[in-house]
C-alpha cells in the first residue's frame, strides 16, 4: 500500500501542499506554545540580590485552602498573591537562634527611583545598607550611609546617571526627597537598580516598622526550617531563591501557562479543521481516480487506509519541520512579550525536547483525525463513477453528517449559554475562543447545505450580469461542496479575527466608559503620586476635593478580585461609583464596598462580613456597606486608601482632583488612564492571537489556491468554447465575491453571537464593535480571497487551453 501512497504523494504534490503547509504551521504554533507552557511550568530565575546567601527566608506568597472531598480525600490548593508578603522582624531572631546558623541578614525592599523620571522599565528598589551582604554588595568608593539623607548607589546607576560620592540627587519613593550620594558599590545587578539607605531611613521609607521582606543566612537548611516552623515564613535555597526575589516573574509564569495552553489548544483545533478541509478538497479533486481504484480492485477499507497513510506521511514530514520552526517562533514570541513587559527579561525560555516532540505528535494526530473525517466520504464514492464521462457531484448531506452537524450546533449553543454566565476574564477568554471555533465547526459540517441555500439566494442578483455573473451563479449552484470547503476557512478567519479584536474593545470600552462616566473630578494626576504630595495638593487653594486612588488585587476564597483604595474625604465630588445599595459614607478601615457583580458572585449584601486576603496575604474581614455598579471601571471592591497602602508594594497611586489644580501640575483625563491600563493586556493578546489569525489566513490562501488550480481543465474548457480570459477572470471574481460575502455573513454572525454572550457575562451590556474595524476585518478577508483566487487562476490559464484540456487528470 505504501508504494501507492508514496507515488500518489510524489505525483500530486500540489494537492497535498495545502495540508502540508497547514500541518507545518500547526506544529510550529504548538511547539512555540509548548515552550511557553514548559517555561511557565519549569522555568526558573537565578537570584541576583539574594545570590550571596545560600538560604533565604521570606513571607508566604500564597493563600492556601484545603478542600475536603466527598471520599474524605483532602486537596490542598494554593494561589499566588499580588504583592510582597512581609515577615515580622522577630522571625530573624528565630533564624539566628537556630543551630549552626551564621551571618543572618535582614532586608527591606520598597520602590525607590533615582531622578525625576523612571526612564526605563527597569525595576528600581530601595534597601537598607545592612542587607548589602545578601548579594553581596561591596563599596568601590566612599562609605556606607549613616545619616538619614545619605545613600549608596550601584555601579551601573553611577555610570548611567553620572553620579559620584558627593553628588546630590532626588529619590522618588513613598516619601520623595533629596539625598547625598556617599558611596558607590563595586557591583551592579543585571535586571534591577539598587539604592541603599541607612537602616533607620529604609525602615521609615518602607512604611512598615518591625517588618522585613527577606532574611538571608548561612547554615543548615533543616535547622532554619525547624526554627521558623509555626510562623508564615518560607525557606528558599538554590534557584528557588529567584522566585522569592522576583515576584513579578511568578505571575508571568502563571500567565505563560494559561496562555500557552489556550493558544496551543486553539492552534490544534484550527489545524484539524483546516487540514480536514484541505484533505477533503484534495479527495474531491481525485474523486475519479479513487472511483477507478474502487472499480479495479480496492476495497473501501483499502481506500480509507490509503487516505489515512497519505495523511500520516504528510504529518510525519510536516510535523518535525514545523516543530523545528517552532523554536525560533518561541524566541520571537519571547521578545515580543518582553517588549510589552509581559515577560520579565530574566525568565528565560526552557527549551527541552518535549515541546517539539509533542508538536510533531500533535501534527500527526491532527493529520490522522482529519484523514478519518475525510475518509468517511471516500467510502461513499461508488466505483460506477469511474465509468461515466462526467463525475456527478453528489451534494446531498448524509444522515451521519446532518446528525453530527446538529450535535456540534447543540454544543455551540451550550457553550454560548455557558459563556454568557462567565464573569471572570480568566474563565471567559478560553471559552470565548472555543465558542467561536465550535460554531465554525458547525458551519463546516453543515457547510454544503448552508452554501447551497446561500448560492441559490445569491444567484438571483448574479444573473443580472450576462456572462461572468451568470457563469458564476451556475458554478456556485452546482459546486456546493467545493464552495463549502473554501467558505469554511474564510469564515473561520473572519469570525475569529472579529471575536479576538472586539473582545478587547468590548472590555476596554466598558471599562473606559465606566471609568470616565464615574470620574466626576475634572483632573487626574498620576500614576505614582506619593501620599505627601497628594496631601499638599489637597491643601492647595482652588482644590475643592482630592481623592487618592490605589489599585491592587486581593483574593477572596482563592479567587482574584480587583480592589481600589480611596481616601473617603470628598469622594462624592471626585468619583461616582453608581451606588445601588447602602452608602459610601461610612467607608473606613473596617468597611468595604462591593460591585454588583462581586455582590452576586460572593453572595454578600450590605451588613454582611466579607473575609479576604489583601495583596500581601494579610487576612481582613471588613463589613460590606455599599453595592455599586461601576465595577469594571474602578474595581470590584473598594476600601480606604490607608488600609490598602499598608499592604501593597508601592503605596503611590493616582489623584483625582476637583476644582482648580495648582499651576504647572501635569494632568490627564480619566479615560486615558483606564485605557493605558487595558492596553498592555490587550497587546499581549493581539500578539498571541495574531499568530492564530496568520495561521487561518494561510489556510484561506491555501484552500482557495488549491480549489482554483484544481479547476484548470474547467477553465481551459471555458476558454475553448469562446470565453475570453477576461470573462473567465470576471466569473472567478464574482464567485470570489460571493464566497467572501457568504463567509462574511457567517463569520459576522459567529462573532456577534460569541461577543454578545461574552459581553453579557463580563459587562452585562452589548458588545462594542467599531463598524469601521469590523468592515476592515471583512475587507481583509475579501482581499486575501481575491488574491488567492486570481494568482492561481492566472497560472492555470498561462498554458494554451488546448494543451491543458488534453492533459489527463
Amino acid at each position: 500500500m505504501l508504494w501507492l501512497v508514496l507515488s500518489t504523494l510524489r505525483h500530486r504534490k500540489a494537492g497535498f501542499a495545502g495540508a502540508f503547509v497547514a500541518l507545518l504551521c500547526a506544529a510550529a504554533l504548538v511547539c512555540a506554545c509548548g515552550i511557553l507552557l514548559d517555561t511557565g511550568l519549569r522555568g526558573s530565575i537565578a537570584p541576583e540580590r539574594y545570590a550571596g546567601s545560600p538560604v533565604v527566608v521570606t513571607g508566604d506568597q500564597f493563600v492556601h485552602k484545603t478542600i475536603v472531598k466527598k471520599e474524605g480525600k483532602k486537596k490542598h490548593k494554593a494561589k499566588a498573591i499580588a504583592e510582597r508578603a512581609w515577615l515580622p522582624a522577630s522571625v530573624a531572631g528565630k533564624v539566628r537562634g537556630a543551630n549552626g546558623v551564621r551571618d543572618v541578614i535582614t532586608e527591606v525592599t520598597f520602590p525607590a527611583e533615582i531622578g525625576d523620571s523612571a526612564d526605563d522599565d527597569r525595576e528600581s528598589w530601595g534597601h537598607g545598607w545592612e542587607s548589602a551582604a545578601l548579594t553581596p554588595f561591596t563599596l568601590r568608593e566612599g562609605r556606607a550611609p549613616t545619616a538619614d539623607d545619605e545613600i549608596v548607589i550601584d555601579a551601573a546607576t553611577a555610570r548611567t546617571k553620572g553620579l559620584r560620592p558627593g553628588s546630590t540627587v532626588k529619590v522618588a519613593s513613598a516619601v520623595p526627597g533629596g539625598y547625598r550620594v556617599v558611596g558607590v558599590t563595586e557591583q551592579s545587578l543585571k535586571h534591577q537598580t539598587a539604592v541603599f539607605f541607612s537602616t533607620a531611613q529604609a525602615e521609615r521609607l518602607s512604611g512598615r516598622s518591625g517588618m522585613v521582606t527577606a532574611i538571608g543566612a548561612h547554615g543548615p537548611v533543616k535547622a532554619i526550617e525547624d526554627a521558623v516552623r509555626g510562623t508564615k515564613a518560607t525557606v528558599h535555597t538554590g534557584k528557588d531563591r529567584g522566585k522569592a526575589e522576583f515576584l513579578g516573574a511568578e505571575k508571568s509564569r502563571i500567565k505563560l501557562i494559561s496562555m500557552g495552553g489556550a493558544l496551543g489548544g486553539t492552534a490544534l483545533l484550527v489545524a484539524i479543521l483546516v487540514v480536514s478541509g484541505t484533505f477533503a478538497l484534495s479527495v474531491q479533486q481525485r474523486e475519479r481516480e479513487i472511483a477507478l481504484l474502487r472499480a479495479v480492485a480496492a476495497t473501501p477499507r483499502q481506500v480509507r487506509r490509503m487516505i489515512g497513510r497519505e495523511a500520516l506521511l504528510v504529518g510525519f514530514v510536516a510535523g518535525p519541520l514545523g516543530a523545528a520552526a517552532g523554536l525560533p517562533l518561541a524566541f520571537w514570541l519571547r521578545d515580543r512579550f518582553r517588549g510589552l513587559g509581559a515577560l520579565p527579561p530574566n525568565l528565560d525560555l526552557v527549551v527541552s525536547p518535549f515541546p517539539p516532540f509533542a508538536a510533531t505528535l500533535a501534527a500527526v494526530a491532527a493529520a490522522f483525525a482529519a484523514a478519518r473525517i475525510t475518509a468517511r466520504r471516500t467510502a461513499r464514492i461508488r466505483p460506477v463513477e469511474a465509468l461515466g464521462d462526467t463525475a456527478p457531484g453528489r451534494s446531498g448531506l448524509g444522515v451521519v453528517r446532518i446528525l453530527a452537524g446538529l450535535v456540534v450546533t447543540a454544543g455551540a449553543i451550550v457553550l454560548t449559554i455557558v459563556l454568557s454566565g462567565l464573569n471572570t476574564e480568566a474563565a471567559s477568554s478560553p471559552v470565548t475562543m472555543l465558542t467561536a471555533i465550535v460554531w465554525t465547526v458547525a458551519v463546516a459540517v453543515l457547510g454544503p447545505a448552508i452554501c447551497r441555500a446561500a448560492a441559490a439566494a445569491l444567484s438571483v442578483p448574479l444573473r443580472f450580469f450576462p456572462v461572468g455573473g451568470h457563469l458564476a451563479a451556475a458554478n456556485l449552484g452546482t459546486g456546493a461542496r467545493r464552495l463549502a470547503s473554501v467558505v469554511t476557512p474564510l469564515t473561520l478567519m473572519m469570525g475569529l479575527t472579529a471575536t479576538i479584536l472586539f473582545v478587547q474593545t468590548t472590555m476596554g470600552h466598558a471599562a473606559t466608559n465606566q471609568a470616565s462616566e464615574g470620574t466626576i473630578a475634572e483632573h487626574v494626576v498620576g500614576p505614582k503620586v506619593p501620599h505627601g504630595t497628594a496631601e499638599e495638593i489637597r491643601r492647595a487653594p482652588g482644590v475643592t476635593a482630592a481623592t487618592e486612588v490605589l489599585r491592587s488585587t486581593v483574593r477572596v476564597d482563592l479567587e482574584n478580585y480587583g480592589v481600589q483604595g480611596v481616601t473617603p474625604g470628598g469622594l462624592d465630588r471626585t468619583m461616582d461609583l453608581d451606588v445601588r445599595e447602602g452608602s459610601l459614607q461610612g467607608l473606613d478601615s473596617s468597611t468595604i464596598a462591593v460591585s454588583s457583580t462581586a455582590s452576586a458572585r460572593l453572595d454578600v449584601r450590605p451588613g454582611d462580613r466579607l473575609s479576604l486576603a489583601l495583596g500581601d496575604g494579610t487576612p481582613i474581614e471588613p463589613k460590606v456597606i455599599a453595592v455599586y455598579e461601576r465595577g469594571l471601571g474602578f474595581g470590584d471592591l473598594t476600601v480606604t486608601r490607608d488600609l490598602l497602602a499598608a499592604h501593597v508594594d508601592d503605596p503611590r497611586g493616582t489623584l483625582l482632583i476637583a476644582g482648580t489644580p495648582p499651576d504647572g501640575l501635569p494632568t490627564t483625563d480619566a479615560g486615558t488612564l483606564a485605557e493605558n491600563r487595558a492596553t498592555t493586556n490587550a497587546e499581549v493578546n493581539y500578539v498571541a492571537m495574531g499568530l492564530i489569525l496568520a495561521f487561518t489566513a494561510i489556510a484561506v490562501v491555501n484552500t482557495l489556491a488549491m480549489s482554483t488550480s484544481g479547476r484548470a481543465r474547467e477553465l481551459a474548457l471555458l476558454r475553448l468554447v469562446g470565453t475570453t480570459r477576461r470573462q473567465v477572470m470576471r466569473m472567478l471574481g464574482w464567485e470570489t465575491l460571493a464566497i467572501a460575502g457568504i463567509a462574511a455573513a457567517l463569520g459576522s454572525a459567529i462573532a456577534l453571537v460569541t461577543l454578545t454572550a461574552f459581553s453579557s457575562g463580563m459587562t452585562g451590556g452589548a458588545p462594542h464593535v467599531p463598524p469601521l474595524g469590523h468592515l476592515g476585518v471583512l475587507a481583509l478577508g475579501g482581499v486575501l480571497a481575491a488574491a488567492a483566487t486570481a494568482l492561481p487562476a492566472r497560472l492555470a490559464m498561462a498554458a494554451r487551453p488546448a494543451d491543458t484540456i488534453n492533459t489527463r487528470e
Binding site: 508504494w3 501507492l4 507515488s7 500518489t8 510524489r10 505525483h11 500530486r12 475519479r288 481516480e289 477507478l292 481504484l293 474502487r294 472499480a295 479495479v296 480492485a297 480496492a298 476495497t299 473501501p300 477499507r301 483499502q302 461508488r382 466505483p383 460506477v384 469511474a386 465509468l387 461515466g388 464521462d389 492533459t807 489527463r808 487528470e809
Partner: protein, 262 residues
Amino acid sequence: MNTSGMNTTGVNTSGSGTGVRDAVRMEKVSKVYGRGRGAVAALREVTTAVPRGRFTAVMGPSGSGKSTFLHCAAGLDTPTSGTVHLGETELSGMYETKLTELRRARVGFVFQAFNLVSSLTVEQNITLPLRLSRTRLDKAWLNEVVARVGLADRTGHRPAQLSGGQQQRVAIARALVTRPEVVFGDEPTGALDTMTARDVLTLLRETVDGMGQTVVMVTHDPVAASYADTVLFLADGRIVDWMDAPSSDKVAARMTRLGAWK
C-alpha cells in the same frame, strides 16, 4: 434482419445450458433509480446469459440501460431485484468489500477514459489489482500480457506520455493480468479515432481467440460490435434482440430500427 426467431421477447438464451458454460447469468434483473414518482427503471426484468470464451457486444440507443446492464453484470452495482451469477457465485446480497474482492480476482475492466492512475507507471498500473489483493506477481504471465498488447518497451512510462490507444492497451493488459473469468469493456473505443479503435478491437478479439478469454463490451458503434461473436440489443431496459456473427451493416440497420439514429 433478424437472424433468429427468438426476437423481441426480452429473453435471450443463447447459451441455453444450465450454467457452468455461462460466464455470467442474469435472472429477472431490474434496476430502478430514485423512488416514488421520480423513479426511473433502467433495467426491466432482464434474463440472459453470457457464454464462456466468446466475445459479446451489448448495443442500444442512449438511455437503453446498457451501462446499467454492464454495472449489474460486473458487480459494480447491485440490482434492485433479480439475481446475478458470475460463474457459480451469486452476486446479489454481497456487500461492497466482498464484491470488490470478487471483482479484483475474477473480473477485468476497460473503461472509455480515465482508465489509469496517473501517478503510476505502465507496469505499476497493470499490476495494480495484484498489488491490492496481495497476489504474487507471475512475472512470465506479466511479460506475456505486456507483449500481447504491444507495450513491452513502454513499461516505465507514465500515462501522460502515452497516446489514447496505448492507454487503452495498458487498461486491457491490466484487465488481463489477473486471468479473470470475464473482461468487461464500457465503450472502450469511445474516445479513440477509427484506426486506433480498430487496433484495440483487434486486440480484444485476439484475447478471445488466442487465450479463450470471455469479453463483454458495451458499445454504440456498429463497427465495434461487428468484432463480437454475438450482439445483444437493449432498448428501454429490455433485451429486444440478439444477433450472431454480426456485420457492421446488419447491426447498423438493426439499430436504426430501434431508433438510435433518428
